[in-house]
């Protein structure tokens, strides 16, 4: 296990270096010179230009620029927003909480509702199963921004159960404000997790080892829990992990739709106002968390299925 973890850590570090390079290279690849990109097309006084050149070491070769920038980024210095004249790190930190809460809330919905509906369908062939299969087939095809519009229309405007806009204040109000966005973000992923759970649990229930457990007089609920569901944990957690990782990026759409003050919405507005340092900083954070979540999922799969570590030499 220790060797496996070390190997995964090295892979994680390598992926982070490559992705940070791509994020940084955007500065040079963008049309025009880096200075114009950083300035976002604004005409700057000579003093500001000097500050920018100094800050980004624009008079140095490209690789040195990257090394300096990466060194700063690792220490938490992501530059200064040219629009707000504030540290990008602070701007990100003040908004990250909303996005983290939104993604965690959505992840919880995906896991609980997805597994519950999947199990229900697997264990109740017939009408219940058909209902779950049909409704998940529909929901799986609904992108978050459509889900957002529908949920706002039904639950905020029509039924007036939950607020449609803003972050809210305090814990309870905050949760109420996050509920519709979280469901919008989770809908499609929940449906796909439900489908995978259903298929996987069905498949496991037909396996010989489940027959053994039944032949030993283990109560059916325990057979389902300890054998069928437990053995389905790898495909379920892999899919759930991948969808949760992708939610980190999808959160931008949902935050925009619900007027939430999160990282994704900020990324969109930073792009619109050509605030390059902010775009770079948020991209770096999003990519890093995506890679991190995927690594956690892989390590989790190895912990759930002892046979996965055998794949080391293949």
């Amino acid at each position: 296990m220790a060797a496996y973890l070390a190997r995964r850590a090295i892979m994680l570090a390598a992926t982070l270096v490559v992705s940070s390079f791509v994020v940084f290279a955007g500065l040079s690849v963008a049309p025009g010179n880096p200075l114009a990109t950083l300035a976002g097309g604004r005409s700057l006084p000579p003093d500001s230009v000097r500050v920018l050149v100094e800050r980004y070491h624009l008079d140095e070769p490209f690789l040195v620029q990257y090394a300096m920038w990466l060194g700063n980024a690792v220490r938490g210095d992501l530059g200064v927003s040219i629009v707000l004249r504030q540290d990008v790190s602070d701007l990100i930190a003040s908004r990250a909480g909303t996005t983290i809460a939104l993604v965690l809330y959505a992840a919880l919905i995906v896991l609980v509702a997805g597994v519950a509906f999947g199990l229900l369908a697997a264990l109740r062939p017939g009408i219940v199963d058909s209902l779950v299969v049909i409704s998940t087939a529909v929901v799986v095809a609904i992108p978050p921004f459509v889900a957002a519009i529908v949920l706002i229309g039904v639950f905020a405007v029509g039924l007036r159960w939950l607020p449609a806009l803003g972050n809210g204040s305090g814990l309870w109000d905050g949760i109420r404000h996050l509920t519709l966005p979280a469901f919008a973000l989770a809908a499609s992923a929940t449906a796909s997790v439900a489908r995978v759970t259903r298929t996987s649990v069905r498949e496991q229930l037909d396996r010989e080892h489940v027959q053994t457990a039944i032949s030993r007089g283990i109560p059916y609920a325990a057979v389902v829990r300890r054998h069928a569901l437990r053995n389905s944990a790898v495909p379920i957690s892999t899919l759930a992990g991948m969808t949760v990782a992708s939610m980190i990026a999808l959160a931008a759409v949902v935050e925009r739709a619900f007027g939430l003050n999160g990282l994704g919405a900020y990324l969109v507005s930073a792009v619109l106002s050509k605030d390059f340092a902010v775009v770079q900083g948020i991209s770096l954070v999003l990519v890093a968390s995506f890679v991190l979540v995927n690594t956690l999922v892989d390590v989790g799969a190895a912990a759930l299925d002892p046979r996965i570590k055998l794949g080391r030499r293949s």
Binding site: G217, R226, R230
Partner: protein
């Protein structure tokens, strides 16, 4: 007579084909007795085991009576059925498939004890280690922490046998327990099963397609063909003096080490599944000694000599088989 296991007119129909997969099977096993159940693939051996612990596919219709220790299995529901299953363990053919691959050996061994006897993990594990030692698995404490893929097939089958014996059963159902193992491991595992069974005075229904193996470990042997019992007799006499033409053909088909043969003896035709069997004797189409009435009426299992046979010509044919 009430034995450990009594099957009376057991008939099983699966959804689909009209013919039953088990047709009027009657067998009984006395306390401490080992009964071998021999037959080709599809003859209904495994289905018999499944019918005893009620593990038949959904939609299967069962007629006849199955009694385990005098208790009628067909009427059991819920907890009572689980209690019965807990004390009638099945050793399956392929341990690799029949043991959950993502749980430890310890989980597998102690699951039954902890569910039915409500033993603590510690005391269940202590028992498991002792029994592992008895079935020839050394270093039990370490084995309990291992996963199935870390053990060889032979070791894994010993683990399955240990799990079966942990339930302290009076009847053991063994469904080709050595078929998936290589030949040397087969012999070792079989020897361990045989010894432990005799020590404990355990009754066993032993399923195999190996007539000689059945003769070696079982007191009596039953031969099945197309879902019907053809012959039941003491193992030694069944092997040496078969009464039924099918048994005789099976025994003849086994190549001998002492004699040189240019051609292996075979039974003409192909094995029938129960649902394909004709109205008369199921073996009629392949039998070298067929008469008109073999096709017309179905021979019943009737007492003859020291056993039972389902062949109308059994008495007359005995002379032929002696040669």
């Amino acid at each position: 007579m009430t034995g450990v296991l009594d099957l009376n007119g057991l008939t099983v129909r699966l959804p689909g084909p009209d013919r039953p997969v088990l047709d009027d099977v009657s067998l009984s096993i006395a306390e401490g007795e080992a009964l071998g159940l021999v037959g080709e693939s599809g003859s209904g051996k495994s289905m018999t085991v499944r019918a005893i612990v009620r593990l038949l596919p959904a939609g299967a219709q069962v007629e006849g009576v199955v009694r385990v220790g005098g208790v009628e299995v067909g009427s059991l529901r819920g907890a009572a059925l689980r209690e019965l299953r807990a004390v009638v363990p099945v050793v399956f053919q392929d341990p690799r498939a029949h043991i959950n691959p993502v749980r430890t050996i310890g989980d597998f061994l102690t699951e039954g004890l902890r569910t039915h006897r409500r033993l603590s993990r510690r005391s269940a594990e202590d028992r498991a280690v002792r029994l592992l030692d008895e079935v020839g698995v050394a270093d039990g404490q370490r084995r309990l922490r291992q996963y199935p893929h870390e053990l060889s097939g032979g070791l894994l089958q010993r683990v399955m046998i240990a799990a079966a014996l942990l339930a302290e059963p009076r009847l053991l159902l063994a469904d080709e327990p050595t078929t998936a193992l290589d030949v040397t491991t087969q012999a070792e595992v079989m020897a361990a099963v045989d010894e432990l069974r005799r020590e404990r005075g355990l009754a066993m229904l032993f399923i195999t397609h190996d007539l000689e193996l059945a003769a070696a470990v079982c007191d009596r042997t039953a031969v099945m063909y197309a879902g019907r019992v053809m012959e039941v007799r003491a193992s030694a006499s069944l092997h040496e003096h078969p009464l039924h033409p099918y048994t005789a053909a099976l025994a003849a088909a086994r190549p001998s080490l002492e004699r040189r043969a240019d051609r292996l003896a075979t039974i003409p035709g192909r094995p029938l599944s129960a649902f394909e069997a004709p109205d008369g004797c199921a073996f009629a189409d392949r039998c070298a000694h067929i008469r008109e009435r073999c096709r017309e009426e179905r021979p019943a299992l009737r007492p003859l000599g020291d056993g039972q046979v389902a062949c109308v010509r059994a008495e007359g044919l005995q002379v032929v088989f002696r040669d």
